[in-house]
Subunit: 372 residues, 2 copies
């Protein structure tokens, strides 16, 4: 816990999270350590399975750093899964090759919920050890982001037992037994909070809550069953660690309609998917120079990376321009943009297009600042 | 073509489409003739396959009327599929049991697109015959809605060959070869327009465009690749037939963020999914009494129908109240609401809950009007 880490050389990402002026727009990509990289596939083949990779500190460190060797990314993100917490609750997470996550046990009845509890963080030691190991290996190059699934997103998987097309089981429980759903979400929120706090103590320099399935909820239910429990997580997180601010990012896929609601969250950054107009989002929640607001992260359609390199570059420029000029006054806060995709990068992405994207974002965003 | 049909007894749905005052809020349900009904499953078993059902005039008539025997629905919708047009283009539509649609041929290359053409409407004669047969069988009880998939939604299936998680192939084509995609969408739009015109001539009293996959597009691309071609369809439809107004409904699933854009469409009704706040949508596009605006259709989460009957009734009341009191002045137009689900009804729905829903909507919406 008292580990000292190397000083940070590139703080662009952390500054942008806190709405501070930067020399360029920082970029990182959700799932940047992943199957689109041949070196990742090689390591995964050695590890035998996804969980074999995620639970082994050396492998997790190796794959986390792989994309940084290829691209000038401004942040690293812990290699792990959004569902480690319910796994630690004893539900038995696994990934069959080429398929989504599956739980051996599900949570569907009153007695299932009664058996749920915030897990002993010792069962998640492998995650915290990986955080510390990655932070050491990064050696101050870029900051390290820790993360978890949101309480609602965890509940979706816990009830359904895996992915779903219609969320019929989890929504049936929610509509029929809102009391049980609230009980489950409170436990999930407290578990996620403890989990993220432990990641911060282990060395995470920012934390992100992935509300991957918040967007499937009806208006009204999103606020009560997803947003409120994300806020319950945020309430329990330290804003600083060893004197350093720990920015918090919340990303609800399909949450663009609820941006005003999300603006009330006690977090620093809102993640956006590609359906959101970045200029409108900036106007709605980005705040003024010298005023309060949220930093915005996103929101390129991952499928843009299947276009030709010139087209990828053009789309990156278009997105940067739609956010518009970020403020450049180092004495005050103002609207900032962290470039990212609107969802995890596809396993079929040509790696060379990622280089075009990262380099274009850096080059063009520097030019945007000079032009002012 | 010169068929005379029985006079309409219940015009509540058509009036609400045109923002005219009604005594109650009309209700119908997307996919109301479907697998949740045991009598539908029995007919489908006789027909052997979904397409066997849809292409046989007698079966299509029978299943279209089945839900009207059980529930006091205010409209009937042609039993068919959104993908009949690409099937008529020669792509070979089929449905394996328990699975989504599949096309034998896909459209992915320049030469594939070059071979596309607006199909001869004679190959869709089975649809128009079904429309006329259903209209006769309805005998004026309620109006009959005709429909098609939107040009973009058809293109998704034509390129992907079936459903998709990530729309990688269709979006790759769109980002790499926007020229080809525009060519395909123009052909689709002209084909859909001809198809809907033929349905109107055969007896459809309102038409609906299902833009089921418009919501997967990035901001900017939705407007250029989906909305513009839906408008191209609308441009080619007659507003009246034999002196009767033919209302047009456009439903983009996941389109709530683009409501202002959709408000520019030359249609009468906008369909909404459950993520949209009905009160806000009314304020944004519903228009004032005496002013222009769109009627709104939707938007109950279909999963509400898995709750207990009292809960289903409570959710229906909540949704009606969130739209608020419709205008009651028969001398002018004003905001109106057509009750529906935010997506097709699930095959697992308990049929008795649908009765609770329909009856609650009628009873409560009458009370809302008396209270004023």
């Amino acid at each position: 816990m008292s580990t000292t880490f190397a000083p940070l050389q590139n703080d662009t990402f952390l500054r942008a999270c806190l709405r501070q002026a930067t020399d360029h727009t920082p970029i990182w990509l959700m799932r940047q350590a992943g199957r689109y990289l041949p070196e990742y596939r090689a390591t995964r083949a050695q590890a035998g399975s996804f969980m074999g990779l995620a639970t082994n500190v050396d492998y997790a460190t190796e794959v986390t750093l792989q994309p940084l060797e290829r691209y000038e990314l401004d942040a690293a993100i812990l290699f792990s899964d959004i569902l480690t917490v319910p796994d630690a609750m004893g539900l038995g997470l696994s990934f069959a090759l080429g398929e989504g996550p599956k739980f051996a046990k599900t949570v569907r009845t009153e007695s299932d919920v009664a058996q749920l509890a915030v897990p002993d963080m010792d069962t998640l030691r492998y995650v915290f050890d990986a955080v510390t190991s990655i932070r050491r290996a990064l050696n101050g190059r870029v900051p390290l982001i820790g993360f978890s699934g949101s309480p609602w997103t965890l509940a979706c998987y816990m009830v359904e037992g895996g992915g779903s097309d219609d969320y019929r089981l989890v929504k049936t429980l929610m509509y029929q037994r809102p009391d049980l759903m609230h009980r489950m979400l409170a436990i999930n929120a407290d578990a996620v909070a403890l989990y993220l706090r432990s990641q911060i103590e282990a060395g995470a320099q920012a934390v992100m809550v992935f509300d991957s399935w918040g967007g499937v909820l009806a208006d009204g239910y999103f606020q009560a069953f997803s947003l409120a429990y994300t806020q319950r997580v945020l309430n329990q997180l330290p804003k600083e660690h060893h004197g350093q601010r720990i920015p918090r990012i919340v990303f609800t896929k399909g949450g663009g309609l609820w941006l005003d609601d999300m603006n009330t969250l006690d977090c620093d950054v809102l993640g956006l998917d590609w359906t959101v107009n970045l200029a409108k989002a900036r106007a709605a929640v980005g705040g003024a120079v010298g005023g309060l607001g949220k930093a915005l992260q996103g929101n390129l359609d991952p499928n843009v990376l299947f276009a030709n390199p010139e087209q990828v570059a053009a789309e990156a420029v278009k997105l940067l321009d739609s956010f518009g000029a970020p403020h450049t006054d180092r004495n005050t806060n103002g609207p900032t943009h962290i470039f990212n995709l609107g969802h995890g990068i596809s396993q079929y992405t040509p790696p060379e297009n990622v280089k075009v994207l990262v380099d274009t974002v850096h080059t063009h965003s520097k030019q945007m600042r000079l032009r002012r």
